[in-house]
Amino acid sequence: MSNTGKYKNIEELYRAKLGERAHPLPDNYWPRFVKKLRLREFMHFRPGSFNIYYLAGLIAITAVTISVLTLKSGEPSSESPGKIIDSDTTSVAPRSIAIEEDYKLPPDETKIKEENLAGETMAAQKDIHVTGEEANQTREKTITVTDITQERPENNLERLSVDKQVSIEALAMPAPVAKFKPDVDIGCAPLSISFKNLSHNFDSCIWVFDDGGISTEMNPIWVYDEAGSYEVNLILFGTDGSRVTTRQEINVYPKPVTRFEVSEGNPAIPDEEIRFYNYSENAVVYEWNFGDGNRSDEFEPSHFYEKPGSYSVTLITISEHGCTDSMVITNAFGDNTCFIKFPNAFVPNEGGPTGGYYSSRSDQREEVFHPVWSGVTSYNLRVYSRRGILVFETDDIAIGWDGYYKGQKAEPGVYIWKVRGIFKTGEPFVKGGDVTILPKW
């Protein structure tokens, strides 16, 4: 591959130079990789690949399962899951054993406190009779322990002073394992997170969301509406009565605040520079869309529009954590559709001159001759009678003709009007027409 070769374009240059380029790997990459591969192959079981490893795994799993099942359902006999710690193999009959049984605990968590009333015995073989009502859930049960061989030692000096405890250590119920997974642990406010409880061996759970909220649902959905760092705690109450907590941090980043203003420029004027003032906070990237197909990523851009129109300007801001916000000014330069229109008839107010003030609300009865308009900056309206007499003139677009001339109601009939002015686009206009004063009917 020649380094001096001519490449047509940058794509060709890159494709030629980097497309097939190899990159060296560390020497121990393959051995490390093979271990992972074997594990993955093992997990990726296919009937065709059954071999000694799977067989061994199968046997191991079966063995564990059987032993667990046996222990769980075992009777409190010799197969009892408990083992009696009684180091000096002694017992004396009859003795009473008080069982303090925590009400909440499952039976095989029972702690037995044995009160040894007698002294030591040699080579004791015990036969334990348990008397007690399982049914009525009393907190205490009495167990009588009778020894078959009641061989008392000759010297039992300590027999009254010995106070022993026999504890039955039971194979506990599996302890709860707390684990959960939020679908996201990082994001922008407001951040809605769906938590998945992956724990097992538990009765109930409480979620503490660190923003003042808690939930007892299994898989809650929580919305963090304020930015911050939160430590979510999941507290489990296990089937064995224990309590386990696990926690995980959630980071909620603030959204940027997008604010901008458009300068007073008029895009209709050629070469008029429109400036955009940016008041956004908490953002590092700015994406402007000027609404005419042009974009910018400056902080405060200026732009030249090629032709007048109603443009919507959008600013998208992105914070350093990738959170976005946006703001749109629709029709940023006001309504640029400039027009002026006049009616062709009206009925003056019978009660006398009104002065010609109008608004769309006050003139619902069309008692004033006035235009509907938009974007007019200067204006002159004249109304003539058919004989050419100027009956009304105004430079104020807010005032129309009330149909009165020198305090007298003008005669019904046709009048001629003429209007001159300039739209805010700078475009002058001259219009004329006639308007009929209708008689009151």
């Binding site: 070769g5 940058i10 794509e11 240059l13 130079k17 190899a22 990159h23 790997l25 093979v34 192959e41």
Partner: protein
């Protein structure tokens, strides 16, 4: 010399020797792809590992149509994109400055000597998103529509990011000489 076909058959039977041959023959080339998309070498190695696991485990899914190398490349690229997505929210956006450099005119840089290292270095100056789009389009030869689907972005975003990346690279390459 053992042919690719033989290696392929060996790998289908999970033959250790064939697996190693495949690795020796193609890992460098595939790592070259990973390096393009990853932010650093350790990440590239992770991507390669994940890709190779997929290749070895799923080799039976390779239909035999199209080139085997192409199939592996596609897996590596898809894995790299998954990584890119995973990292996206943790990485900060960096916008390119001076994007609107004029196109055309001076083409002299095209003939001048750039080593692959230099080109890679300039490529690494691009923000991750731009870099991915550029590599997929210019080097891998995907269409903007395909890139948009792969990266879950708008076609126009792909196009505009590409053209920005391109003008940025041109300028940087010119500066380089």
């Amino acid at each position: 010399m053992i042919s690719d076909q033989q290696i392929l058959e060996g790998c289908l039977n999970h033959d250790k020797h064939s697996q190693k041959l495949l690795f020796e023959r193609y890992s460098g080339m595939l790592m070259g792809i990973c390096v393009r998309y990853a932010t650093d070498i350790p990440e590239a190695e992770d991507i390669l590992q994940e890709s190779l696991l997929k290749i070895y485990i799923n080799i039976k899914d390779y239909s035999g149509e199209g080139s085997f190398i192409g199939w592996m490349r596609r897996i590596v690229i898809n894995t790299a994109i998954t990584y890119y997505h995973k990292n996206l929210k943790h990485k900060h956006y960096i916008e390119i400055e001076e994007l609107y450099t004029s196109e055309g005119g001076d083409n002299s840089y095209i003939g001048s000597r750039y080593t692959a290292d230099e080109l890679q270095k300039v490529l690494d100056l691009l923000p991750p998103g731009y870099k991915v789009v550029f590599c997929l389009y210019a080097i891998e030869g995907y269409k903007h529509k395909e890139i948009a689907e792969m990266l879950d972005i708008d076609v126009n975003t792909s196009k505009s990011q590409y053209s920005r990346a391109r003008s940025f690279l041109r300028k940087k390459l010119e500066d380089y000489k």
